[in-house]
Amino acid sequence: MKKILLNFLWVLIMLGSHAYAQNRTVTGTVTGKEDGLPLPGVSVVVKGTKIGTQTGANGKFSLNVPSPNSVLVFSFVGYETTEARASANLNVSLITAQRSLNEVVVVGYGTQERRDLTGSVGKVSGATLASNPTPSFDKGLAGRVTGVRVTESSGFLGSAPTIRVRGTNSLSNEGGPLYVVDGIPIVTGNQSGVVANNPLADINSEDIESIEVLKDGSSTAIYGSRASSGVVLITTKKGKTGRQVINYSGWAGYATASKRLSVLNANDFITIANEKLTNSGATPKAFPTLDPTGNPYNTDWQDVVFRRGFQQNHAISVSGGTDKSNYYFSAGFADFKGQIVGNEQRKYNVRANVEQKALNILTLGFTSGISYVKNLGLNSGTNGLSANVNNALQALPNVPVFNPDGSYNISADGTVLGPGSNTKGIDNNYTNIKYILDNNIYKNQNLTFTGTGYLDAKIFDGLHARTQIGVNSLYGEDYQYWNPIHGDGRPNGLVFQQYIPTFNYDWVNTLTYNKIFGSHKINVVGGAEFQKQRARSFNAQGTGLSNVYFGPNNLISGTLSTPNIGGGIAENAIRSFFGRANYAFKDRYLLTLTYRSDYISNLGPNSPPGLLPGGSLGWRISDESFFKNSSALKFVNDLKLRASWARTGNVNIPTYAFASTYAPATYGTSSGIAFNVLGNDKLKYEKTDKLDFGFDLTMLHNRVSVTADYFKNNDNNLIQQVAIAPSLGVPGNQISQNVGSMYNKGFEVSVTSTNIQSSAFTWTSNFNFTYIKNKVTTLYGGNDLIGTYNITRVGNPLNSFYGYTFLGVNPANGNPMYLKGNGQTIQGDVTKGNYYIYDPANPTALVTQTTLNTADKTIIGNALPTYYGGFANNFTYKNFDLGIYLTFSGGNKVMNATRQETLLNQLFINNGTEILQRWNSPGQVTSVPKLYYGNGNFINTTGNASTRFLEDGKFIRGQELSLGYTLPKSIVQKVNMNKVRVYAQVQNAFIITKYKGLDPEVSNTGTSVDFNANPRPRTFILGLNVGF
């Protein structure tokens, strides 16, 4: 009886105790912290023992542990290893590894673990891109990868940013990196003749798994002759083994112009315009125009060309897989109205990626994406009479947009903006921009298909053979309509319609061998690639439109009295063989060798192939015994030193440049031929030799990782159009030759750190910084290449600014003063348009006439930034997350031609408010010279750079500020969802800069010249991420 009672008590005590203590079984679920999805295959091990298990398909695990105080270690590829004290029900979230050594990095024709990498590769995960929405993913790369400079040179939705990896590699400053999507190089660059368009916008950011940027020689060399400007590898998502995942991501918001220029209001305009006229001896001609209620009109034309544009984007994806197959399907829709009136974009895209394993040795799969993008644009040129910014900054502010009767305010002869009560018409024939924006049409629509199909076979253990065919085809259509009543289309109208099909085909075959023999690890890949591209276009256009009704939609037969046709076709192909061998000894001595040979059709049938070798070394010094045994270096977890060198090429050479050709032309009713281009069959591709030294360091318990590189890229054989004597009879007198050379060198640093990590609060940051210098070392004959504002001269950076030195305004008479080449100070007489030597003792004397011309120009500034980078901080507190992302750049100047030609003009049109500081009384000290009607070109030295308008281009930009909230699991799981996050974000929130124009990055000519550029948007959005 006692025994039974004792047993019963014992049972009670047992029951009373923590149930866990009796069972010592830990169960729980492991999920990913970002998306809340269960993670199968996670290794769960009792620390210090071999007792462990793995999570199942639903992320659940169950493990018997020896002690209630056991510590369990959770580890999984791509996530930070986490430890947790055992408890009965233990749910753990794993954070994605910021820069873990086990991170898998996509390299050309294969993948590598970051720990084995001897080249310089920057990676941006798809998650980072998706959480920072942009119209095209390339804009989202800004400041995220060291050495990669992304410049958005315009506020247009469809325009592509300029991307440079470690500097510019060509004298023409053209050409960006090679873009490869799932192994196939795709067509990039503007595909429209009418509206800016960017094929990279076809790719839905939500579909991107990761982007790798190959920067140095060793990593890019496998792409051989297309690699000198870097390679961007884009990998789309695949389904993951485990349960099916459904994701919805959407956001909506609006964009406004981030800055507007300050222009004169009606009253100030009247004062200034009349002063310009009276100074020149004419009578005042500007007067207030009264509306029907008797108030004077005061129009801000920037209200007409800029707006608050509503934008929305939705994407949904379904993916899943088993260990035999996986799939990923997605669909997306986007509708953006830009902050620029007339600029819109609408996108639809679908994607299907499927992979299937068969027969134990085969893997076959396909990736396919179809997208339809429609871009609407407008005339936004620098100087057009109906270009939106040029017009809005100069249109008369003292007249209305519409007449009181509702009609557009247009002059009596229909050609220009109506004069209102001014007794003089608007100068320069500016039109009523509202009419133009309402009636003219610039449209491009593009249907793109990108797809690959592949078959991978395991021949025997370690050896795989793979064949892949990729297709990238774009079917674009342009449409342009100019209304004949007013504007560019006056008087006959214009209709232009063009069809632009482009087709790119790529076939790659590779053999890959991976094997580990003891402490030797070998990875070899060799292959052959065949690629061909064909770009065609044909168009029909005409003037003499019979009725505006026939204008806006399509070309209609019989409506145009003067038709015209055009068309063209160009093809090129590359045939290549390549190989790469990676060898690792004891996991700490690493060697990579690559080799590629390319036959390029653009160089002619008899040209030799490009033979491009490369190699790199790595040393995991932290694995050495002296390092491991040193107590001083204990804080270092991993340190790898690496060095690489490779020769790569640049195939941006003029198509068919090897052949002397005759071009067609029509002569009246006959079509004929005339000599056009002198060919050079000895032309070679441009070469870049890339040298890189760097290290990768992780320390402080893997909380901080640092990657740093020193690089030097030597560009040789740069192609220049070399001038030849006219008696050779070549129109334009030039021939392409390989004569130039230049280099880019600098260093990059990227520091990623997990600053605070506790269960409630985390703070991670990433700082990256690049410093780079460019110098041109050889030009043909040592001759300078002189542009309007820039010069390329041996011993200086590409496109340095070349102009006059401005010495201020003469307080005695308001004349601008300059420094002449021989050191003299001269002043320009605004009334006569002549220069005179300045005598400080007698400042108003205009005695000795002199000149100011090219001989007085010097190099006055740098157009290329010398440093740039980004600083991202991410905070999480319980369910809230906050991200602050800054980008910065500097070391260059910007030529503010908008101030020079537009805002400070001397005609009967509007000005910027800077002109209110003009000189108008003797003794006045100011920086704006005296006004004088009609002499703007002289007073402002238009068409020439000058220190008066050259401004510092450095800035710090608040690229993205975002605040998000993830709904608690308890609420979310009640409705069968896995994760719901809402967020608010501001893009381009603020900019800190001294630059007076719209934005120091806005340079619509690629040479750091800002001339009537459109402003960048500031976007406010609310978004929702839902995972099922």
């Binding site: 076979a457 021949i459 025997f460 050896l463 053979a465 064949t467 075959n509 053999l511 052959a528 065949f530 061909k532 015209n564 063209g568 076709i569 160009a570 093809e571 090129n572 192909a573 045939r575 059709s601 002619g604 049938p605 198509t655 068919y656 090897f658 052949a659 002397s660 050709t661 005759y662 071009a663 067609p664 032309a665 029509t666 002569y667 009246g668 009713t669 006959s670 079509s671 004929g672 031929i673 005339a674 000599f675 056009n676 281009v677 002198l678 050079n680 001038a723 030849i724 004597a725 006219p726 008696s727 050779l728 009879g729 070549v730 129109p731 334009g732 007198n733 021939i735």
Partner: protein, 445 residues
């Protein structure tokens, strides 16, 4: 072991299939990849002819006409470069385009190519036409500059620094080209014949032959200052030249597109830097010459005859040939023949400009009253806007012109153009511009 062999065979098979497929596909895949579909590497003469003729007309009515007519005070430059030209300030840069896009780049390179192609294909008639157009352009170039590259020109990469042939050699070359052309035109051959592509004579070979003879006569006359025996050679040659105004070498322009618009019309509408006033207008006014109404539009602009977008440009006319005969006959003492030719020339020119030769009676001359000044003055009026007027003035000094008041050549009228800046910079064989624009070409010395 067996499985290994199986697996290795699999490898070999795959590799073999891949490489096999690669090589077999290569031919089809890359067929024609090196040929630019938008530009020809091997043109045929029919393709080249329209462009050569059009470019010739464009140059004869373009820069070549503007500079010469400004110097000869047939027009007055009012703004920009034209204003500088009125004061005889024409730089090397100003004339660069005449070689790059006009004479060498537009006309002679293509004509040279056409001659070579036609000779190689046995197309004697095309070769002849090419030679005539080549000789014509060479003649203008050497008359304006003196020594010029020819025998070493147009060789592309093979010779980037062509040597300059002396003007004497050039004139010999011109004469050879013309005589070869005349022979070739007479030969019979059955290849494709010029037709609608011949923008000058629509394939009429007799007219081409007359043109060749007329050019030959003109070039003999140029050399008469060096060697007086050339006068009679000119007269003989002229017998086989143009027989009426129907034979005139005229390039027609149509206004259908910008590159087929009459060059004077295009210049006036785009630049408007030239005013149609000057010595010739004063002369026509003083003489009550009816041609004033067609040379001027009454408001300082160019008359419709030569100033519309579809107006023609005359390379060489029947009336010009008559004046050549008149001058040559006069210089060799046959005043009767000179007067006859003179009267015929005046009548023919009036016929093609105002449509009626009534005025001819007013200026008619007889063997007793004819003077060299009459011949040269009427030729000067007849050749309005033709570059030949400058050559005529340099040879004879007639009509007597007063140098421009603002002239920068110390009170003299220019005698040649400066070598183009492109040549000076990139061809080490370019002679220096000693004497500037007062340098005299060989036949002018």
């Amino acid at each position: 072991m067996k499985t290994n062999i199986k697996k290795y065979t699999k490898v070999l098979l795959m590799v073999a299939v891949t490489l096999g497929a690669a090589s077999c596909k290569k031919g089809y895949f890359y067929d024609g990849i090196n040929n630019d579909p938008t530009q020809l590497q091997k043109p045929i003469p029919t393709n080249l002819l329209p462009g050569i003729i059009q470019s010739t007309g464009y140059e004869w009515g373009g820069d070549a006409s503007r500079f010469t007519s400004i110097f000869m005070q047939q027009v007055t430059g009012a703004a920009n470069q034209s204003y500088s030209a009125t004061n005889y300030s024409v730089s090397s840069d100003d004339v660069d385009n005449m070689w790059s896009f006009g004479l060498y780049g537009g006309i002679m390179n293509n004509a040279n190519a056409m001659v070579k192609l036609a000779d190689a294909n046995g197309q004697a008639h095309y070769a002849a036409i090419g030679r005539i157009l080549l000789a014509n352009a060479l003649g203008l170039t050497t008359d304006l500059w003196g020594d010029i590259p020819y025998s070493q020109a147009f060789q592309g990469n093979a010779n980037l620094q062509p040597k300059y042939d002396s003007q004497q050699q050039i004139y010999t070359t011109i004469d050879n080209l013309l005589t070869t052309a005349i022979t070739q035109l007479a030969a019979s051959e059955n290849s494709i014949q010029p037709g609608s592509d011949d923008k000058l004579y629509s394939g009429d070979l007799t007219k081409w032959t007359k043109f060749a003879h007329s050019l030959r006569a003109k070039f003999f006359l140029h050399l008469a200052k060096v060697d007086a025996s050339n006068y009679s050679k000119a007269i003989t040659e002229a017998q086989s030249g143009f027989t009426s105004s129907n034979d005139d070498a005229v390039v027609n322009f149509s206004e259908t597109s910008v590159n087929t618009e009459n060059p004077w019309s295009q210049f006036n509408s785009q630049r408007g830097d030239i005013e149609f006033t000057g010595y010739i207008y004063d002369l026509l006014n003083k003489n009550g010459d009816p041609r004033l109404d067609v040379y001027s539009d009454g408001g300082g602009g160019l008359g419709a005859l030569y100033g519309n977008s579809n107006s023609p440009v005359y390379l060489m006319s029947y009336d010009e040939l008559q004046f050549i005969i008149a001058e040559a006959q006069f210089q060799t003492g046959n005043k009767q023949a000179a007067a006859t030719a003179y009267n015929a020339g005046v009548a023919a020119n009036l016929g093609r400009t105002v449509g009626s030769s009534t005025y001819a009676a007013t200026v008619a001359k007889t063997s007793g009253s004819i003077a060299l000044n009459d011949i040269m003055t009427q030729k000067y009026i007849a050749n309005f806007l033709n570059p030949e007027v400058w050559t005529d003035w340099r040879r004879t000094g007639l009509p007597a012109l007063t140098p421009a008041a603002g002239g920068v050549l110390n009170g003299q009228i220019p005698r040649s153009l400066l070598y183009p800046s492109g040549e000076q910079r990139y061809n080490t064989n370019t002679p220096p511009n000693t004497g500037g624009m007062l340098r005299r070409v060989w036949w002018d010395k």
